[in-house]
């Protein structure tokens, strides 16, 4: 017996997995060639699983700003903003974010994970109630646990179940805070936000939308699902990350709520960790400006996502319920999913492997995320490779047919999403 012996089952599962090829959780790229290609074991590999939605990691202007900021302000802040003070860049980035969302307040965190930890654990106290979507990201679950409010889950994307859960606590005192995501990271589906906002209003609850995967992706101005669904006024807090469409690292929350600024002295995941370094702040500010200035990137992203989604649907793969920059192939056989993932990587295509228990209904996913910077040729390469290998492994029945394409309309929800 050792301290770590409780991890034996996990270790055993992991070693069974790695015996069959690469370790999907420890892939190493020797080099990044661009926002869509890396070198792995000497081989050029197309990156189709890096959440780099706008491909801004190699944007010239972002790199310039970042280098310049490092030269002027140094490599790190060496502490939290509460202790060491803020740099001018932190304040400016917060002002930029508030302006982008048309809100009064913005608060920057060191990661999106910490933004969720911070907001969820601080906004509600032990006499309040937190109601989260069952398919929420780990950071939402962890933020829920860090705080003191009782936490209840509602069925994924089910406004009626949300209403039911709010009704059950209608008579109880305390505030009610509902948390949903703009685009869910596993299957790429969006919350039915109009309906959820209506429920929220009916029961006098507050609403948080985590736009981690939808910022820069949805909405006319790229603000996310709340903008796309036309319900921004009903969303009390928007949480987001810099690590996806903005190509850096960090997280934020914006809000119009009066008194918001006091959270800087109450929110521990904001107070007790080092603030973001100048290089990150500078590239993020530039990326946010680019996101706003170049709406063509969003159009390109959508077109790339459609190309991948329809290409894979045509081959007969079972996919998530809607075309979005997250396109997941749903497989019922985890062993085959592992073989598929390994085969693709060996042939120069990287995407994410998601296995139970992280996935609903003991299914396994090959999750891809599309970038505006992918070329049509790269996406075509991915579709062809997945088709070839899918047929070899018996994941696809026969040659692509028009019937397979017609089935696309039916792939949706019931088949794809966990319904408990």
């Amino acid at each position: 017996m050792s301290l770590l012996s409780k991890f034996e089952p996990l270790r055993a599962a992991h070693s069974r997995l790695t015996k069959r090829g690469h370790d999907p959780f420890s892939v190493v790229f020797e080099e990044m060639v661009s926002s869509t290609e890396g070198i792995m074991q000497g081989r050029r590999t197309v990156l189709l699983g890096t959440n780099n939605y706008l491909g801004l990691t190699f944007d010239e202007a972002c790199i310039e700003q970042s280098v310049e900021a490092t030269r002027r302000h140094g490599t790190g802040t060496t502490g939290s903003r509460v202790a060491n003070g803020s740099y001018d860049g932190h304040k400016r980035l917060e002002a930029d974010l508030a302006a982008f969302y048309g809100r009064k307040h913005a608060m920057v965190f060191s990661t999106g994970y910490q933004a969720n930890l911070g907001m969820l654990s601080t906004l509600v106290g032990k006499n309040d109630h937190l109601i989260i979507d069952a398919d929420s990201h780990a950071s939402i679950y962890d933020g829920s646990r860090l705080g003191h409010a009782p936490v209840v889950r509602f069925h994924h994307n089910d406004p009626e179940d949300l209403a039911k859960r709010l009704r059950r606590i209608e008579k109880e005192s305390g505030d009610k805070l509902v948390v949903v995501e703009g685009i869910y990271s596993m299957l790429g589906d969006s919350a039915p936000l109009k309906e959820i906002a209506a429920v929220k209003r009916e029961y006098g609850a507050y609403l948080i939308v985590d736009e981690a995967h939808s910022m820069g992706v949805l909405g006319e101005r790229g603000r996310g699902l709340a903008e796309a669904a036309g319900v921004e006024a009903d969303v009390d807090f928007i949480i987001g990350t810099f690590s996806k469409s903005l190509g850096s690292v960090g997280g934020f929350c914006v809000s119009d709520m009066e008194g918001f600024e006091i959270l800087r002295l109450a929110c521990r995941p904001y107070m007790f960790t080092a603030s973001l370094p100048p290089a990150v702040i500078a590239s993020t500010r530039q990326a946010l400006a680019t996101l706003q200035g170049e709406s063509g990137l969003r159009a390109q992203l959508r077109s790339n996502a459609d190309q991948l989604y329809s290409g894979l649907a045509r081959l007969g793969f079972k996919l998530g319920p809607e075309a979005s920059p997250i396109v997941s192939v749903i497989l019922s056989d985890a062993d085959k999913a592992v073989a598929f993932w390994n085969g693709l990587l060996e042939r120069g295509l990287y995407l994410n492997l998601a296995l139970p228990p992280a996935t609903p209904n003991s299914s396994a996913f090959l999750r891809s995320s599309v970038s505006a910077r992918h070329t049509p040729e790269q996406i075509d390469f991915a579709v062809r490779l997945m088709g070839e290998l899918g047929r070899q492994l018996g994941l696809l029945e026969a040659m692509p047919t028009e019937v397979g394409f017609a089935a696309r309309g039916k792939v949706p929800r019931a088949a794809a999403v966990s319904d408990g």
Binding site: S144, V152, R165, P357, G420
Partner: protein, 83 residues
């Protein structure tokens, strides 16, 4: 109270059978994790089926404390008594 307990037990058994897709014999002291091989997500989803069945919400902190079949049925009974 006996009736409620009986109903809750029966519902737990039914929900378990439908998730595991096989008949199960239930003993109060059975451990839900060890005896039925459910991971944390599976347990949450299993609880959700029971929440729907009894029209209650089991908060996650209460769910985390549940180990045995008896813990689970008591948690639900307490919520029913409150509601």
């Amino acid at each position: 109270m006996m009736d409620v307990t009986h109903n809750v037990r029966a519902a737990i058994q039914e929900a378990l059978q439908s998730i595991l897709e096989r008949p199960v014999e239930l003993e109060p002291e059975m451990n839900i994790v060890a005896d039925f091989g459910m991971d944390s997500m599976a347990i949450m989803d299993f609880c959700m089926a029971l929440e729907d069945r009894f029209d209650v919400s089991i908060p996650l902190d209460k769910m985390a404390e549940i180990e045995s079949v008896q813990d689970l049925s008591r948690t639900i009974e307490t919520l029913l008594a409150k509601g």
